[in-house]
């Protein structure tokens, strides 16, 4: 009888021990998961975007489309050149601009501007866009992603900071109107 009691008590202790480890496991899992998903929670809490200057308005002659670069607002010291982002600035007239992301709306490759034919062309899968960023041909399902912009003290500012992707285009988030189908 006593032996049976002893066995059952040990079995209970094993269960208690496993239960204790389970609780510790959960306690450990919470910070680990929060650490792992911090890129998402940070995005949801603060957002990654802020207003950045692309330079003075004189750099962008009316009627032309030019390459501009900026330093991403959120960078680490060791990010090196990857923190520099390019974009295409089209000055329609004195106060009207269009600022396009460099990333093709298909799969993110860098599009190039051809002023002679007024087309953006993508080197990866052959997407092409008109000068206003709308889709001309190829695999993209939509036009180029556009940054929101404003003009302050003679400088062109854009709201940027996150790589635009088909699932999260800048324009949708900032509420700027979509340019194309």
């Amino acid at each position: 009888m006593s032996a049976e009691n002893g066995v059952s008590r040990r079995a209970a202790l094993v269960k208690l021990g496993m239960f204790l480890n389970g609780i510790v496991g959960v306690l450990l899992a919470v910070p680990v998961v929060r650490y792992l998903i911090s890129p998402v929670t940070r995005q949801k809490k603060f957002g990654y975007e802020s207003w950045l200057s692309l330079g003075t308005l004189e750099q962008f002659p009316a009627g032309q489309t030019r390459l501009a670069t900026y330093r991403n607002p959120l960078v680490n010291d060791w990010d090196g050149e990857t923190g520099n982002i390019a974009c295409w600035v089209r000055r329609v007239d004195d106060q009207t601009f269009q600022v396009f992301a460099i990333n093709c709306a298909h799969l993110g490759c860098p599009v190039r501007w051809f002023p002679q034919s007024s087309l953006f062309m993508c080197p990866c899968h052959g997407g092409a866009y008109y000068q206003d960023g709308s889709r001309a041909s190829g695999p993209p399902e939509r036009g180029l992603f556009q940054y929101r912009y404003k003009i302050e003290d003679g400088k062109l500012l854009i709201k940027a900071g996150e790589m635009p992707t088909p699932g999260q285009p800048v324009a949708n988030k900032t509420g700027a109107k979509k340019t194309c189908a």
């Binding site: 792992l36 998903i37 890129p39 998402v40 995005q43 990654y48 975007e49 390459l67 670069t69 991403n72 959120l74 960078v75 680490n76 010291d77 060791w78 990010d79 090196g80 050149e81 990857t82 923190g83 520099n84 982002i85 390019a86 460099i102 990333n103 298909h106 799969l107 993110g108 490759c109 860098p110 599009v111 190039r112 051809f114 002679q116 034919s117 007024s118 087309l119 062309m121 993508c122 080197p123 990866c124 899968h125 052959g126 092409a128 008109y130 001309a136 041909s137 190829g138 695999p139 993209p140 399902e141 900071g161 996150e162 790589m163 992707t165 088909p166 699932g167 999260q168």
Partner: protein
């Protein structure tokens, strides 16, 4: 000699591994499996061990930092004695490993090795294929150059299309808002810790099952696998006619592994390391990113899928493929093993091989991409300009200046995105040409806003000259009847 024997005995008394190792080595295998068809699994393992060793050697120099990785690769290539050779071994070892894993898979599929009782061995093998491809992709990212940078952009763009959680997936994958230091760090952790850890555990389980269940016997047409009788039949096959694995079968494995290692060394010396290509600077946009060899087929597929179907196919296709592979042993767990009696299996392999081969071949030429500098670097061949009028020659100038040549070839020069225009005049009438240029369509941008009427006239005049000497350009017959014959230009 006696000292070595004494040392061996000293260790064996304590480790007690001698007997199990000897028994494992001498376990009996079916006579016909001592074959050159049964050497790919061990060769894949040999490649993996080479990757582990060369990977550790590279980690002595490599810096997994976005600002420094590219420089450290340059140091490996040029600054460290034989660093280029270690990089070349690792790169070529990777290619050989993927290739041999694929060949191994085809062999076990055609030999029916996935059938009862080796279903789980096959499933772990499928997982091994996935982690091997995972190693190849993450390794390509660690070669942190332009291709790696934009390849990550492609990966992020695909991930972002997952419904609802797409944008979060992108942030998790990149470790932040953009491709930068955190991205490289997490791919380093994946490539060096997580995926190899999985790979080693899967290899362990895979090998254990090969030993416990025995190697798949040579399939004989008509020898049917049945769950009720197979174990008994296999036991007889191995114990009555079987041979010890060491040394009767193993020598072929050893020879083939040695041959593969030698081939990797020869490729490494002859072809050298892969890249790195340009610096991972996203402001340098004069680049045409391309993935490594084993992902070229996917790169090609992405340009051929119709836009509307692309996202569902990209997201559902791989899942279906993996489910089919995993379900295979449960659907066809019994029955005929020999490929001679399984025509659908053979046709499936042929179909997959031809598809992947064709897509890979296409991706090496990227006919879907505009040739970005054709307009400025590939002149129109002289025979297209001889004896032409001033207007037609001006049209040829428009053809170059407006980048038509980037997508359309003349005499096999220029892009292949659009159709070759060598004989366009016999396919389209003058009116159709004007319409096509101005309105575009059929995957061509509309040029109406970018061409003046004079330029359009000149361009179409040039296009009208593009027909064989003995064949007249296409004409609209009804137009000739409706209008006075003299009004229709006779070109």
């Amino acid at each position: 000699m006696r000292l070595i024997q004494k040392l061996g005995e000293w260790f064996d008394l304590r480790l007690q591994l001698g007997t199990p190792i000897r028994e494992t080595a001498e376990h009996r295998v079916p006579r016909e499996t001592a074959s050159w068809f049964y050497v790919f699994g061990s060769a894949a393992l040999t490649c993996f061990m080479l990757q582990v060793v060369t990977g550790i050697l590279l980690a002595l120099i490599y810096v997994p930092s976005a600002g420094e990785a590219w420089n450290s690769l340059q140091t490996l290539n040029h600054g460290v004695s034989l660093g280029w050779f270690i990089r070349a071994l690792h790169g070529w070892g990777s290619n050989f490993m993927v290739a041999i894993v694929l060949i191994h898979m085809v062999q076990v599929f055609l030999f029916g090795a996935y059938k009862f009782p080796r279903e789980l061995t096959w499933i772990v093998g499928v997982l091994l294929l996935l982690v091997t491809l995972g190693m190849a992709f993450t390794g390509q990212v660690l070669r942190f150059d332009q291709d790696a940078y934009w390849g990550l952009g492609i990966g992020a763009s695909i991930a972002s299309r997952v419904p609802v959680i797409g944008p979060w997936t992108v942030n998790l994958m990149l470790g932040g808002p953009i491709i930068a230091g955190t991205t490289l760090s997490r791919f380093f952790a994946l490539h060096v810790f997580v995926v190899p850890g999985l790979l080693i555990s899967f290899v362990g389980v895979h090998l254990l099952m090969v030993l416990k269940l025995g190697i798949n016997e040579w399939p004989m047409p008509g020898r049917i696998v049945r769950r009720t009788t197979y174990m008994q039949e296999y036991h007889e096959l191995t114990h009555k006619e079987g041979i010890p694995f060491v040394p009767e079968a193993v020598w072929k494995d050893i020879f083939f592994s040695g041959f593969i290692l030698l081939a990797i060394v020869v490729c490494a010396i002859h072809f050298g390391p892969f890249g790195p290509s340009g610096q991972p600077d996203p402001t340098i946009i004069q680049t045409a990113p391309r993935p490594d060899f084993f992902f070229l087929w996917l790169y090609a597929l992405l340009s051929f899928l119709p836009p509307a179907a692309e996202t569902p196919i990209l997201l559902i296709g791989p899942a279906i493929g993996i489910i089919v592979l995993l379900a295979l042993p449960f659907v066809a767990g019994e029955g005929e093993k020999s490929w001679k009696r399984r025509p659908i299996a053979v046709l499936t392999i042929l179909l997959v091989a031809v598809s992947l081969g064709t897509l890979t071949h296409l991706a090496e030429h990227t006919p879907w991409s505009p040739v970005m500098d054709a307009w400025s670097s590939e002149p129109i061949p002289a025979e297209f300009l001889k004896g032409r009028t001033a207007l037609e020659r001006h049209g040829a100038l428009v053809f170059q200046a407006k980048q038509c040549h980037n997508c359309h070839s003349l005499d096999n020069q220029g892009g292949q995105r659009g159709p070759a225009l060598d004989n366009v005049a016999i396919h389209l009438t003058e009116d159709q040409l004007i319409r096509q240029v101005i309105q575009g369509g059929g995957n061509m941008p509309a040029y109406g806003k970018n061409l003046s009427p004079a330029e359009t006239t000149a361009l179409v005049a040039f296009l009208e000259t593009l027909h064989p000497a003995n064949q007249k350009p296409a004409r609209n017959a009804s137009q000739a009847i409706a209008l006075d014959a003299s009004e229709v230009p006779s070109r």
